[in-house]
Every structure is written in C-alpha cells, then in structure tokens.
C-alpha cells in the first residue's frame, strides 16, 4: 500500500459546493455535569456564548448557501433563553433542524413551539439506564426522571425522539433492562448506543467510567444478542455494538485471506468533512465538534463557503483518507490492516496527540492483545433459552 500522489487525490476528492449539514454548539452552558461529557474540560477552548443576532446572521448565510439541516447542540441547547428566536431563524432560512439534549428542560411550551414549526427532524435525548439508580450515576441526581419526562412530552407532541445510550462502567450490566425500558415501556421505535470515549471530561474520569476490556467484550456480546432479540432496533455507529460488527467482519476477512476492501487500509474512518462542518459556541468554525482545536475561521467574519471549499486544514482532513495505515509504526505487522479504517480522528488526537493517526481505542489487535475476544456466538436472553451460533 502506498500513498497516492496529491494530484491523483485531488481528482478523486469530490466535495459539495457547500455543506449539507452543520453541527452548531449553541451554548457552552449545561444544566448537568456528566462525568464522561466530551464537551467540557476541553483544554484548547475557552467558550463564550454568542448573542442571538450573531447566530441569526449566520443562519442567513447558511440558508443562502442551501444548507439543509442544522443540528443544535451545546452544552444544552434548551439553556438558551432565545432558543425560540434561534429556531425561528432556522425556519425562516428554509432549513430543518435536529437537537441534542439531556431532556431535562423540555416542557409542553418549548416542545409545542418546536412541533409547530414542522421542521424538526428529531430531538436526541440521552438515556443511560433503565432507572434513576443507574442513569443518574454519571449524569446527576434527578436527571433520569427529567429526561424521561422530556421524552414523554416529545412523544405526546409527535416530535421524533432519538435516544442515545452511552455505555460506561456503571450501566454496562443494565443493557438488557435499558433496552426493554426504551423499546417496550417507552415504546420507542429504536435507540442507538455508544460508549464513553476519551474526550473532554471523560479524560479526567477515564478510570471510573470507561469500559475495561472485559466490560467491552460483555457489552459487545450483550448488544449483539439484544439487537437480535429486538429485530435490529438497536443501532450504533461507534462503541461496542459497532465494534462487534466491524471486528467480526474483519476477523472473517482475515480468516479467509480476503482481498482488501474498498476504503480499507487507509485512514478512512471519518467521512464527515465531505458533507458537514461544525461551529463552536463561540462562533469558531471547526471540522467537527470533537475536533474543536482545529480552527478554520469565524462565523460572520469568514465566508462559510470559502472555508468549506478552501480551508487547508479541512482539506488536510479530507485527504486523510489517502494516508495508508502501513505508514504507521502502530499498525506494523497487523493482520487486520487491509480491513481497517483507522477510525475516529478525534479520539486519535486525544490519545496520541495526532489527528493523522489511527485511533488506538478502536484497534482490534490491541483489544485482542489485552485479552479481549471477538464475539463468535451469543445467547438470546435467558427467558428465551436459545443458543444461536453466529454465521461466520
């Protein structure tokens, strides 16, 4: 494997004229202090919220450029007293929006307003367990009840709810209960999972929250089983469930000595910079809200289109996909190299100090060396008493 030359790369990179989606951190304030939060304790950033008019001016630019969707996050977006005016700005500029929230500040009034816009794709609420004793461990006392109340308010108003469960040491044994609670008791169509990653506050509390190898393996097996039991209504783009699926495929490919898959063997783990971009709470444009140290420009001072099309730092991230894993000592001799994507550049940065590096956290070889095993078979839940062999 070798790096392709730059002109060859430039021919192959196809970037839209403008981003389709933008992740907006509307505020750096939050009513909770979760012990694994990726946002807070970021040494590179000292945030200050922007006034309403600055955001509205920027939303005007987004609308003119044909941006289709804004994801309004934070901090906690419902902390903004001017949230209604900001959402009106999104709507007036012919965009749709999603929100990421802890749910605690959602009420009939603000949810009713959101429902009335007809433009909300979904509101994602974090639920980390089936009961307060589990959920509140990392998110704070009372947070479970208020999150569930928020979800039920959204459900009553027919606003699509997307629940995300972040798996950590204190809820890994509650996965089955949580799945049952979300899918059966609350009647959600689905939910997604992730795990506490070495970012932000989690770096400070890593020993107390991040999964051990044994817990990670248990979570992988349990989630595969639950996903089967609930007919695929549990999803993941990162964390134990995503890893279980990806690593089984990689192991199968290695066993069969399969040829390298397209887009594998290079740093292809992140496709975000070709379709979306992000803005920090202080108005600084960044590639992703987990790569907040890479400052590309500032809203209302720099042209979003120019940043999107011409920023050298953003283009470097896009060209990252042409860096072969064979370039890295870390990957030397790895039997999975032809099937690996190197995974998330943000985690790579926090773990190695380098964006252009595979993420050690997502390394299958390292997981195996640390005593982990790729799930080969799993058991449906005890009430079913059925053993199922996974077809390899």
């Amino acid at each position: 494997m070798k790096a392709r030359n730059r002109s060859e790369q430039e021919e192959r990179i196809r970037v839209m004229r403008t981003p389709r989606k933008i992740d907006i951190d509307l505020t750096a304030r939050c009513n909770l202090r979760c012990t694994y939060c990726y946002f807070f304790d970021n040494p590179e950033v000292e945030y200050q919220d922007l006034p309403t008019d600055d955001w509205l001016r920027f939303f005007g630019e987004c609308g003119r450029l044909g941006v289709m969707e804004l994801t309004l996050a934070g901090g906690e977006p419902f902390m903004r007293k001017d949230l209604r005016a900001l959402i009106e700005g999104v709507v007036a500029n012919r965009m749709r929006f999603s929100m990421l929230s802890n749910g605690a500040l959602i009420n009939e009034d603000n949810a009713g307003f959101i429902a009335g816009t007809g433009r909300c794709n979904s509101i994602q609420i974090s639920i980390d367990g089936s009961c307060p004793e589990v959920h509140d461990t990392c998110r704070g006392k009372g947070s479970f009840e208020s999150a569930v109340r928020g979800i039920q308010t959204l459900q009553r108003l027919s606003i699509p709810v997307a629940v995300r469960m972040t798996i950590h040491q204190h809820n890994v044994n509650d996965l089955a209960n949580t799945a049952r609670f979300l899918l059966e008791d609350l009647g959600l169509p689905s939910f997604s999972t992730n795990s506490a990653g070495y970012l932000g506050t989690c770096r400070v509390n890593a020993q107390d929250v991040m999964l051990t190898v044994e817990e990670r393996q248990f979570a992988m097996e349990e989630l595969l089983s639950l996903s089967e039991k609930f007919n695929g209504r549990i999803s993941a783009s990162a964390g134990p469930l995503a890893e279980a699926r990806a690593w089984r495929d990689m192991e199968k490919a290695r066993n069969e000595a399969a040829p390298a898959k397209p887009d594998r063997g290079y740093l292809t783990g992140c496709g975000c910079p070709t379709s979306k971009i992000a803005v920090r709470a202080d108005g600084v444009i960044v590639p992703c809200n987990m790569l907040t140290h890479i400052e590309l420009g500032r809203i209302n001072q720099d042209s979003l289109q120019e940043v999107w099309q011409s920023s050298p730092a953003l283009n470097d991230l896009r060209f990252r996909r042409y860096i072969p894993l064979t370039n890295f000592e870390f990957c030397s001799g790895c039997p999975y190299i032809s099937y690996c994507t190197g995974n998330c550049p943000a985690l790579s940065f926090t773990l190695t100090g380098k964006v252009d590096h595979p993420s050690p956290d997502a390394c299958l070889r390292r997981f195996l060396r640390d005593g982990g095993k790729i799930p080969e078979k799993f058991t449906l839940h005890s009430e079913n008493q059925i053993n199922i062999e996974v077809i390899q």
Partner: protein, 99 residues
C-alpha cells in the same frame, strides 16, 4: 372555481436548490423534508420557472443553453415539471376565480 395557469410554472419559493457536484443538484423542500436529485438540465429548468416563462419559452431556452437537445425534449420537460408538481415543488398563478 379556481383556474390555474398551468402553462407558466413557478418554483415553490420555500424549496431550496443546492448545486452540488458537476453541475448536478438537489431540490429540497424543508417543510416536507422531500429531496430530489436533478441534473444540469433540471437545474436550468428550475431556474426558468419564474412565472414569466411559459413551457414553450422554457424549452427554447433549454435548446439554447444545451447542445444536442433531442426533439422529444418538450415532452421530457413537461414530464419533469409534472413530477415536480406532484411532489409539491412548484405552483401556478391563479388565472381566474369563478364564484
């Protein structure tokens, strides 16, 4: 009874045209979240649907702007406009309203 001037289509002002790669684009209706990919000819037609151009004029403009436009272009343009009409991407001026 409302009578619409079906000969002069008007692009729905709420719809957004995103020009993306190689002159291709996406028409997006933020109210319905409906999106449809369109080719360069489709983009040109979209831009001509201003209520000023009738179907004949749109076809003539397309023949001016693009090389090797087939003879059946008029039918294809009408079919394209009808499709957008059904999806709610265009509207028409009201010609008359009988009580």
């Amino acid at each position: 009874m409302i009578e619409l001037n079906k000969n002069r289509p008007i692009a729905n002002p709420i719809a957004v045209l995103r020009e993306e790669f190689d002159e291709w684009g996406v028409l997006f209706n933020p109210d319905t979240a409906d999106a449809v990919g369109i080719n360069p000819v489709g983009i040109a037609i979209w831009k001509l649907m201003d209520g000023e151009h009738d179907l004949e004029q749109i076809q003539a403009e397309i023949q001016d702007q693009f090389a090797e436009v087939p003879e059946a272009a008029g039918e294809e343009i009408s079919a394209f406009i009808n499709d957008l009409d059904e999806r709610g991407f265009i509207g028409y001026e009201v010609e008359s309203m009988d009580q």
